[in-house]
Point group: D2
Chain length 112, copies 4
């Protein structure tokens, strides 16, 4: 694992955290709020897990493999839910989640 690979995964997690939180606050303002319950819930979940993963990588955690595997699952679940909705913030979030899942999958494979 090179320093560059670490940095790419950290960046993907931080971008995903940001996209999830933007989608979270935007969804809470939408008219069709009732359709976005799972989206809001998974946005927070995924943002918190991505933030945790990013910091774990910067502090050289012994558990990066496990944390990145967890992050893959959260990102995939959030991408699947946000991908159902046509709001721009949902689509942008789904896209960031897919990129982050890919980066974390790679990291988990190397770190364990």
């Amino acid at each position: 694992m090179t320093q560059q690979q670490y940095q790419q995964c950290i960046d993907a997690c931080l971008e995903c955290m940001n996209a999830c939180n933007v989608c979270y606050i935007s969804s809470l303002k939408e008219y069709d709020l009732a359709m976005l319950r799972d989206c809001i819930r998974l946005n927070r979940e995924c943002a918190d897990i991505c933030a945790f993963a990013a910091q774990a990588m910067t502090r050289g955690s012994d558990f990066i493999g496990e944390i990145c595997e967890l992050c893959v699952k959260a990102c995939e679940a959030c991408a699947a839910e946000c991908g159902k909705h046509e709001h721009d913030h949902c689509q942008a979030c789904a896209e960031a989640c897919r990129r982050c899942a890919e980066a974390c999958r790679l990291m988990a494979a190397v770190a364990k």
Copy 2:
């Protein structure tokens, strides 16, 4: 500041985190979801700040005074919003927020 006073404030923060998160997930399932937008947002905010404050106290942070002052503001805002709603989870949350605000106000006064 005695060890007992610390423990009381830590416990108040953890109970408030729990009540806020219970209110958060319960609100996301309610029929009158649209009226609970601010409640949901402040639940998460307050839960995260309480969790942060509790852990800061257990690790003997140098910034307990400032963190507890922040926690007072978050708890007061969440109590004010949740107090407007008649759902049991909102009322229970408002009550936990008020107790936590009181404990944190005392801690902030001593810690700074």
Copy 3:
């Protein structure tokens, strides 16, 4: 999974977070600091993961199984390291870690 089982696991995580952070700040003050490098590092790691797990359970996360599995690994690693040292705070931490690992193992088995 009953509400009581959840609460027992949340409590075990919060007690472990507390014991890890007490061991962390105590270790940083010890004379034989150089022998406690891994202890300090794993204390922080385990405290952060336990705090994350406790909050994830209170917000009804979809990923409680995975998060509790991660917590088992962190607790086992921290217990193994702290168990090597005779300081009271290390022994107390190792004990809290073992209890938390047991509670999280049970939770992970049911939640997945």
Copy 4:
């Protein structure tokens, strides 16, 4: 407050979190560990507060002013301590802390 100003402050917090955690793990490996006790403690403190601040900004927290004021204090304390040590990681951390304190001071002035 423009979106660009937010982004600059978020980036400063994330870079500071990273520098603090790099300094933290590097300090724990140093020969002169005993001189770095406060450095290690403040590194963790500052990293955790910066991470919290960055995520609070991405989720549009109502408490950005207070959180950024807290971040200023943590960054100043960490910069003062790390600035005393000649290790490259300490100097780099002190520099990142000063930049983050400046960005957060600006944000706090506007947000409150």
